[in-house]
């Protein structure tokens, strides 16, 4: 056979082989399944109202923001947040602290990720760090997702994931999640991860480069993105939080960055996250600020949000008994007239965890200088003010 013949038929044979491989890969992908059942918290008991509040330790950072937390062994809580001289500064690190419910104290904070460590372990230049998000994968490992930026502002963000086998004492090197074909920039995280029934992890993310919209990433056991679904599109919805109610049904809420009226956006799925309804405005206000939500053990949906259309001075809790259709303001955590507040009246970026004992924990940015932790039971939530 001539050289031209080898080239012609050899290239065809090679193409046939690799396309056979592509078809096998794509035809044998597992069929997506619905959400995993939520971990059962102890149902609410008719106990006396319980409420407590602490400021998390902060010995060095002038500015802190974006707290997240996960329950770990012994009913303890491990929190993460980012702090530094200012938001976006090169000295911003991601800190952690451990809460013991027995004595009600937080351990001194320590950095789990710095910009220098991130760029060394990710093997690429990193300019700044941003939002962390904690959760667990199906194997029970503690996962920490965090935002990093190499070029530009937050629109240049990408998400990284590191895992811990020992409840957050030590961590794997981070790996980069690839979620956009455009230089893999403009993907951020704020909402809690969730579980699918097949063991995959779901991660609600958002983009804010040319558009502001949400997506739900599906990660395999190695933390690689293996599928994604669009939650919204356009230029006005971001920071999705997803609350699965059953294997098929979930409700999601999103921060609104569009024209007034400023309202929290809501989305729904009835097929395990394969398809989502177009976002609709709820009756709850949203001053272009992050929200948090969780499904309580009694089936109600709890929402932490800034109850104002223009500022972040009021942080409240709302309850819904019909999966988000109607809401009742249950409590105001911050912003009561006359109550002592932070030097800067900004209470934002809430995070909700209900622990295995049924106690509800809310962490949030308190005046940009501290992270505040409030914890209570459902009896406190019900108690008339």
């Amino acid at each position: 056979m001539t050289r031209g013949g080898w080239l012609r038929w050899g290239s065809l044979a090679a193409a046939a082989l690799v396309f056979a491989g592509l078809y096998v890969r794509h035809l044998t992908l597992p069929t997506p399944v619905g959400f995993a059942p939520a971990r059962a918290a102890r149902a609410a008991s008719p106990a006396a109202p319980v409420y407590g509040a602490e400021l998390l330790p902060n010995s060095t950072a002038a500015s802190v923001h974006s707290a997240t937390a996960a329950e770990i062994s012994g009913g303890r809580l491990r929190a993460f947040w980012y702090g530094g001289s200012r938001e976006g500064a090169p000295d911003v690190a991601i800190y952690t602290s451990l809460y013991s419910p027995h004595d009600g104290t937080w351990s001194p904070e320590r950095a789990v990720m710095t910009r220098e460590l991130a760029q060394r372990q990710l093997r690429r230049y990193v300019r700044k760090l941003g939002n962390p998000v904690a959760g667990r994968d199906r194997a029970g490992r503690l996962c920490l997702f965090f935002v990093s930026v190499s070029v530009g502002g937050w629109a240049g963000s990408a998400i990284n994931l590191m895992v811990s086998e020992d409840e957050g004492e030590t961590w794997s090197p981070p790996r980069r999640l690839v979620a956009s074909p455009f230089f893999n920039i403009s993907t951020l995280v704020k909402g809690a991860p969730l579980q699918f029934a097949d063991g995959a992890t779901g991660l609600p993310v958002y983009h804010e480069f040319l558009g502001k919209f949400g997506e739900l990433l599906r990660l395999d056991a190695l933390g690689r993105v293996i599928q994604k679904t669009r939650l919204s599109w356009g230029q006005s919805s971001l920071q999705p939080v997803i609350v699965p109610r059953s294997e098929a049904e979930a409700v999601g809420f999103m921060r609104y960055a569009g024209d007034p009226p400023n309202r929290i956006l809501m989305i729904r799925t009835g097929d395990g996250g394969e398809h989502w309804s177009a976002p609709v405005k709820t009756a709850l206000p949203n001053p272009n600020a992050a929200i948090a939500s969780a499904l309580l053990a009694d089936g109600r949906v709890l929402l932490a949000f800034n109850n104002a259309g223009e500022n972040r001075e009021d942080l409240s809790l709302a309850l819904s008994e019909d999966s988000g259709d109607t809401w009742r303001i249950a409590r105001r955590l911050e912003g009561d007239p006359g109550s002592p507040g932070a030097p800067v009246a900004e209470y934002s970026y809430p995070w909700i965890v209900q622990d295995g004992a049924g106690e509800i924990h809310v962490l949030y940015t308190w005046g940009r200088s501290r992270i505040k932790h409030v914890h209570f039971n459902t009896a406190w939530l019900e108690k008339r003010r």
Partner: protein
């Protein structure tokens, strides 16, 4: 260092080398000097100074480059050093005509224009693989073997999980090669139009 980090750094480093080889007028220099200069450039790109090599700074900006960019960068380096043309102009033109519409299809939608997200097809769509197969067969029939080779190399890298991404699009195309293809096509079009205008009549 993981294999995906090594492959990612290699791709960005090769892109940096291609840029150096294009900026320096290597063809005017003796062969030995060309090799020495490229070796020095390779050391500058891949050897760490401080925490990171220069390739890692480029990687921070561009992310991992596609296999198409990698092949074109490698071809550019070879062309500048040896004076040969590893990829002929006919193959290049065809490649650009494939990349430009693919980019115009992919990026606006992937960046949130509508609810439709073509990027999601790259995680596991038989329709997407079939479309790529048809394009590859058409290229093979037209004897555009460089195009066929690039698709095969990209698919192999994807099947081997060479990059951090598990999305086939990321192995086929990236914004850099898309812009390059669009610029080359527009430039060719401009030349053709100006040639037609200045062409003497009759």
């Amino acid at each position: 260092m993981s294999a995906s980090d090594a492959f990612g750094l290699f791709g960005c480093g090769l892109l940096g080398l291609a840029a150096v080889a294009t900026l320096i007028p290597l063809r005017r220099l003796p062969h030995r000097v060309r090799y020495a200069l490229m070796l020095a450039a390779a050391l500058a790109v891949f050897v760490p100074f401080g925490d990171l090599p220069a390739a890692a700074y480029l990687r921070g900006v561009t992310g991992d480059v596609s296999v198409t960019t990698l092949v074109l960068a490698g071809a550019a380096c070879i062309a500048r050093i040896t004076g040969g043309t590893p990829i002929g102009p006919r193959d290049l033109r065809a490649l650009f005509w494939l990349l430009a519409p693919a980019a115009l299809f992919l990026y606006p939608f992937a960046l949130g224009w509508t609810q439709f997200d073509p990027y999601a097809l790259g995680y596991g769509s038989v329709d997407f693989v079939t479309a790529l197969l048809l394009v590859t067969l058409a290229a093979w029939r037209a004897k555009l073997y460089a195009v066929v080779f690039i698709v095969i190399a990209a698919a192999l890298a994807y099947l081997a999980g060479a990059y951090e991404s598990r999305n086939l699009w990321d192995y086929l195309i990236d914004p850099l090669v898309s812009v390059y293809a669009l610029v080359r096509l527009l430039s060719g079009l401009r030349h053709r139009l100006s040639g037609e205008v200045t062409q003497p009549a009759g």
